[in-house]
């Protein structure tokens, strides 16, 4: 590609170039293989796993995690973290049910909920980006506060949502032969993919994570962009809250406990670096699907659901371990 350059390329630089291009791909390749392996194992162990019905069901269940994981990829790429997404899901989930019960039309409810999610993200983003408090601390506080607000609003009760409206269709409906949540997740993934790799915004997000001071000196509004990813994760969590409320037909402050960990696991499993500067949407997609597969498959082969957590945790550890081994080996040859 660069044949017009004056210097002939030596074999060594060719090798370096290969490693440079292979490095990030290797991680995606690893998780892709892992995903395929999981699918194969479950396909052989049960007849139900590889049926259209189950796959679509799996997609529907994975959708909330996927939607938030896409946004979380941006957050983690900047070198941040958002621990509050589970609590935002609970808050918006409960709030949606309350607003609908109060008789607010469902399109307005959805709009209001998305705004609430974005606003929560904006407040957290402000503390992180403009006040310089570590994202871990701010969102840990958010995790506690927002769950508390949700509990207070519902008094701990589950609030029913009348079915048969456009709202519940978001969780249970079908569109083009796909469950509506799956469609939403696919749209979110496409938007994330394009934004991260093809837009100025995406490049700047990576630049902030890679070297925030260098990014600032080139005139990138680092603080505004840093705050923006939390608005994104807040809004995505609100969307997930809506989808969950619509699917279950109720709003509960106890929804999505531990959700943030599943989301972060999906992102990290996909190969996005926790220290920032490197993010991959395709990897996140595969990570989220792998986690969903494991949960779904273990239930189908009649293993105690308590095992799901153990296996998921072990898979994360092993996958990341393999990745870092593979990765550091490639890196050492530089």
């Amino acid at each position: 590609m660069s044949h017009e350059l004056s210097m002939p390329r030596t074999p060594r630089t060719n090798a370096l170039r290969l490693i440079d291009h292979l490095g990030p791909q290797a991680q995606i390749l690893a998780i892709a293989l892992f995903f395929i392996a999981c699918c194969l194992v479950f396909t052989f162990m049960t007849d139900v796993f590889a049926t259209t019905g189950n796959v679509l069901n799996l997609l529907r269940q994975a959708a909330p995690n996927l939607i938030v994981a896409i946004a979380m990829t941006f957050v983690i790429t900047t070198g941040g973290i958002d621990l509050s997404v589970g609590s935002i899901v609970a808050l918006t989930n409960a709030l949606a049910a309350i607003l609908l019960q109060q008789g607010l039309p469902w399109p307005l409810t959805i709009l209001a909920i998305l705004l609430v999610g974005g606003l929560v993200g904006l407040i957290q983003g402000w503390f992180i980006a403009y006040q310089g408090i570590p994202a871990f601390i701010v969102t840990l506080a958010g995790l506690s506060i927002l769950r508390g607000v949700a509990l207070l609003m519902t008094q701990g009760f589950s609030i029913p949502i009348a079915s048969g409206t456009g709202f519940t269709a978001l969780g249970r409906g079908w569109f083009l032969g796909m469950p509506a949540p799956a469609i939403l997740a696919i749209l979110a993934a496409l938007a994330g993919l394009i934004t991260l790799s093809r837009t100025v915004y995406g490049r700047h997000i990576v630049a902030i994570g890679a070297n925030s001071e260098a990014a600032r000196r080139t005139g990138i509004p680092t603080r505004r962009l840093t705050a923006s990813v939390y608005v994104m994760s807040g809004t995505a969590a609100a969307l997930a809250g809506i989808v969950i409320a619509a699917r279950l037909g109720s709003g509960s402050s106890n929804a999505a406990v531990g959700f943030e960990l599943d989301v972060i696991a999906a992102v990290v499993l996909g190969g996005t670096a926790l220290i920032g500067g490197r993010g991959t949407i395709v990897g996140t997609l595969l990570g989220a699907l792998t986690i969903a597969c494991i949960g779904n498959g273990l239930i189908l082969i009649h293993i105690s659901p308590f095992f799901t957590q153990i296996v998921t945790g072990a898979v994360i550890l092993i996958a990341i371990w393999l990745n870092t081994r593979l990765f550091s080996k490639l890196g050492r040859r530089r």
């Binding site: 590609m1 660069s2 004056s6 390329r9 440079d20 837009t199 490049r203 700047h204 990576v206 005139g219």
Partner: protein, 255 residues
């Protein structure tokens, strides 16, 4: 010909401390000017003022004869002053093209959104690197895997593409191996050959004598001497820096 930059009576105080006092200096296009001096002599402060990173307390900066006031590094960049920082300027996880265009990406607006024009940026970087004769085989390789000299080349390409007419380099050869240092010094001459003005801060007298056309020695916040390379020797410059030279003593007494 008016100098590209004229600094007149530049002073900078931090509280009661005078970091810089009454510095007059001209910087010409196509010329490499080296700033020399001990640590704390004021050369970095002077360069920060030129680069818009700090405002001066006293004095005036003129660019092509017109007085300017920089509120930020952005203002200075718009006036054609590009600074190459030692460590902080590049993002290791981005490739050469992304680094050169970081913060100033070439975009095409579709549906109101700015989309990256990756091929256009790539071609521009190819051209720049060829002109600089920089030995970077693959502009799509991450900067993290590159040598110090290659990184300097990327930073210089970036400065040039910004339309930099004065390029400030703070210790560009510090921490570089010998062969790498050679390459960077060659790049510095390339810049001057392109009619850029170059300010070079360096502690390495050998490097300075190799590339600089003119040298200015700072001591205790003042500019105490200015020499053409042809009219001085490394010994004299070292004596000026350390204060052993009669001119330096006179300046010390006056301060």
């Amino acid at each position: 010909m008016t100098p590209f930059v004229q600094a007149r009576g530049i002073g900078k105080s931090f509280g009661g401390l005078k970091a810089l006092d009454g510095v007059d200096l001209d910087i010409h296009q196509g010329e490499v000017l080296a700033l020399l001096g001990d640590n704390g002599a004021g050369k970095s402060t002077f360069v920060k003022i030129l680069a818009g990173a700090q405002p001066q307390s006293r004095g005036e900066i003129r660019i092509e004869g017109r007085p300017v006031a920089f509120a930020s590094p952005h203002d200075a960049a718009r006036a054609g002053i590009a600074t190459i920082y030692q460590e902080l300027a590049l993002s290791e996880n981005l490739n050469v093209v992304e680094n050169v265009f970081l913060g100033r990406e070439v975009v095409r607006r579709v549906l109101g959104f700015p989309w990256l024009r990756r091929r256009a940026m790539r071609q521009r970087v190819d051209t720049l690197l060829r002109e600089l004769d920089a030995h970077i085989p693959d502009p799509l390789a991450r900067v993290g895997g590159m040598s110090g000299g290659q990184r300097q080349a990327v930073a210089i390409a970036r400065a040039l593409d910004q339309g930099g007419r004065l390029v400030i380099m703070d210790e560009p050869t510090a921490a570089l191996a010998v062969a790498e240092t050679r390459k960077v010094l060659k790049l510095v001459r390339q810049l001057a050959a392109r009619n850029c003005a170059v300010i070079l801060i360096s502690h390495n007298i050998g490097d300075v004598f190799e590339v600089a056309d003119r040298m200015a020695v700072f001591r205790r916040g003042r500019k105490i001497a200015e020499r053409q390379r042809a009219a001085t020797t490394p010994d004299e410059i070292v004596a000026l820096i350390t204060g052993a030279h009669p001119d330096a003593r006179t300046a010390d007494l006056a301060a």
